[in-house]
Amino acid sequence: MAIITIREALNQALREELARDEKVFLMGEEVAEYDGAYKVTKGLLHEFGNKRVIDTPITELGFAGLGVGAAMAGLRPVIEFMTFNFSILATDQIINSAAKMLYMSGGQFNIPIVFRGPSGSAFQVSSQHSQALESWYAYFPGLKVVMPSTPADAKGLLKSAIRDDDPVIFMEQERMYGQKGEVPDDPDFTIPLGVADVKREGTDVTIVARSLTVPLALKAAEQLQEQGVSCEVIDPRTIRPLDIDTIVASVKKTNRVVIAEESHPICGVGAEISAEIMERAFDYLDAPVKRVSGVDVPMPYAKNLENLAIPDVNRIVAAVREVAYLD
């Protein structure tokens, strides 16, 4: 077991998969000579050369589509968006080409592509650079959406995503690249998509968190433990397909649920999980499902406003106390 950062874990995953399969290549802005805008791809150009690690012009729609076309012709592209905010330019190719190709060709052309990059807020980068877009992509049948929150999850899931024969939207979090954690040494360590992880066991309240809110939820759980409330923290890890059974089993045990997410509440993943819980565990709910989401405004620049816009430990603690009827 090594203790490494999420950044390093992703780097390892890319390195291992590039080495393992000739058909895998990496493409994006500044991924090669710059070593990656966030240094996730550091050293890969040096090791694999510019046939496998390719710098692109600023041309998201173009290179996303190029990736899909390359996948149709047998390659396994890993396309980096410097941030997922820029993926918006490429959505026509992600959605109308990648997501639908297999279906509309009657099963002839699968697209084994990974679109990866940081999603969600950073530090004071303002509204156009701070969007958490997972619910957008999770909406489309044909795509898979993954959001890791720890180095081990990041590495294992990225390797699985690259090996997966379908388009995977792999959403990292810029604030978390430096977060450390244990990662198994096994060079073939993978984590299957579609499996949630119980990050902390508990009996009183279930907290479903993803990406940025996972460490926040864990901190909240610590605080709540001292207040006599035992929280179970579940990280779905894969948003589509969602391992709802693990979440429901937990809710049946605790009877109360808080969903913590960085994204806006409206039409978000939290709303989807809430609907599923209501459908499958209605008779087990002692309180309504509570969402702690990012505030429904564009992300402001000012530091204090930005902090208010994103869920924090206090808000999660308050929500847990609310569903436990403690205040």
């Binding site: 009877n255 209605f282 008779d283 087990y284 709910l285 002692d286 309180a287 436990a324 009827y325 205040d327």
Partner: protein
């Protein structure tokens, strides 16, 4: 400033009240705290106090009439005040603001006078249990979850399921969740599971006794339901007589000596004698059935048996045709099955006449409630040695008092009396049984 008098919640389970008696009439002066009316609730008759000063301007609900909780029933105001606006509100707003299922605190108390009393009650209503109980963020005390009249009860899905599984009536509960929501811990409190700290709901009224609410068992509910339909509509009258039991007691001893397996009791003899008397007085072995009187052809005697949480009356069919030993055996078996709750419905329904014996508890006499649709029931008291006058001399005899309750719709005084005469005659001279 006029005061609305609304039907107050005088018991936790009250949903509507009936005006038993107005203690003031329109035009009378009224001051704060004075009794205004007597109100019949589901439990008892309670006094309602005035919560304002002034004159009782208008009574809206008369004696004998009912109103749901929160409905405007009278107005107190100044003698010359215009109360038309207030009057127009009755009874369009049958509900207290608090009964609505919102988390918003109830309307400010100035509007409705009875509120302070209610609030006090509600605050008192809330369980004082240790774990989790401060009012939510300084909210007003929560409304009772059993809403008035047409109000909705709010329950979490989990609590609803738990209550259904445990056979708990949600209407008897106070919810401790927001807006009076009944939640898991409220159910747990009732079930008193070991893992959750049991939170008995102690209601505190100044001066009144503390009490504990438990859900009524099925059998209790059944007894309640059935006997209310008896003592209410059935016009009972009661006949008492004293019976000399010496010969019956001797007969019993003699029979039991014949065979150790025979264990005849006095009650078995009573059953047989009652059955015999019924055959001789068919008008008593009858039932009033709404324009029909049903006369039974055999005497099916219901024998009251006390069981763990109530009372049940297994039936000895055609007791007039059975021997004492048969009756004894049957009663023993039925009683045992009654206590272990293994009676089949056809074994405890359809009696034509019932016998209830509290003699073993030392009761001298008592009046029993008829089991509808039977025409009568015999309440047997204890046998005890008493001095009596026989042929001008005081002698000691075993005396037993019996009281017969009769349904006057089918049995008149004389009819019942004649039956009782026969019963007494046979019981005092059991040899009549073989004649």
């Amino acid at each position: 400033m006029a005061t609305k008098v609304i039907m107050p919640k005088l018991s936790p389970t009250m949903e509507e009240g009936q005006i038993s008696r107005w203690l003031k009439k329109e035009g009378d002066k009224v001051s704060m705290g004075e009794p205004l009316a007597e109100i019949d609730t589901d439990k008892a008759t309670m006094e309602m106090q005035a919560l304002g000063n002034g004159v009782l301007r208008k009574i809206l609900i008369n004696e004998g009439q009912s109103a749901p909780l929160g409905q405007l029933i009278a107005v107190i105001g100044e003698a010359d005040e215009d109360i038309a606006a207030l009057l127009s509100e009755a009874p369009a707003q049958p509900q207290l603001q608090e009964q609505k299922e919102t988390d918003v605190p109830p309307k400010a108390p100035d509007a409705t006078q009875p509120q302070p009393q209610l609030q006090e009650q509600k605050e008192a209503d809330r369980p004082p249990s240790a774990p989790n109980l401060a009012p939510a963020n300084g909210r007003q005390p929560q409304a009772s979850s059993t809403a008035s009249g047409t109000g909705r009860m709010i329950v979490s899905p989990l609590a609803a399921r738990m209550a259904a599984e445990a056979g708990i009536d949600l209407r008897s509960l106070q919810g401790s969740g927001p807006g009076g929501r009944i939640i898991k811990r409220d159910i747990e409190a009732v079930i008193s599971k070991p893992k959750a700290a049991p939170t008995p709901s102690y209601v505190q009224q100044a001066g009144a006794s503390a009490y504990r609410d438990e859900p009524a068992s099925q059998i209790r509910q059944t007894i309640a339901k059935r006997l209310v339909t008896s003592i209410g509509p059935v016009p009972h009258f009661f006949l008492t007589t004293e019976i000399e039991m010496d010969r019956a007691a001797e007969m019993r001893k003699g029979i039991n000596a014949l065979d150790p397996d025979l264990k005849i009791s006095i009650n078995d003899i009573i059953i047989k004698v009652a059955a015999a008397a019924l055959i001789q007085h068919p008008q008593v072995n009858a039932s009033y059935q709404e324009k029909i009187v049903r006369y039974y052809e055999q005497a099916d005697i219901g024998v009251a048996v006390a069981i763990e949480d109530g009372l049940i009356t297994p039936v000895v069919r055609a007791a007039d045709q059975k021997s004492l030993s048969q009756i004894a055996g049957e009663v023993r078996e039925l009683a045992e099955r009654a206590r272990s709750k293994r009676l089949k419905p056809e074994e405890y329904t359809g009696a034509t006449f019932s016998v209830s014996n509290l003699g073993m508890f030392g009761i001298d006499e008592f009046t029993a409630v008829i089991n509808p649709p039977e025409g009568a029931i015999l309440a047997i008291g204890a046998m005890s040695a008493k001095p009596v006058v026989r042929e001008n001399e005081i002698v000691i005899r075993q005396m037993m008092r019996v009281t017969m309750s009769c349904d006057h719709r089918v049995i008149d005084g004389a009819t019942g009396a004649k039956f009782l005469q026969t019963f007494k005659k046979i019981l005092e001279n059991p040899l009549y049984l073989v004649v």
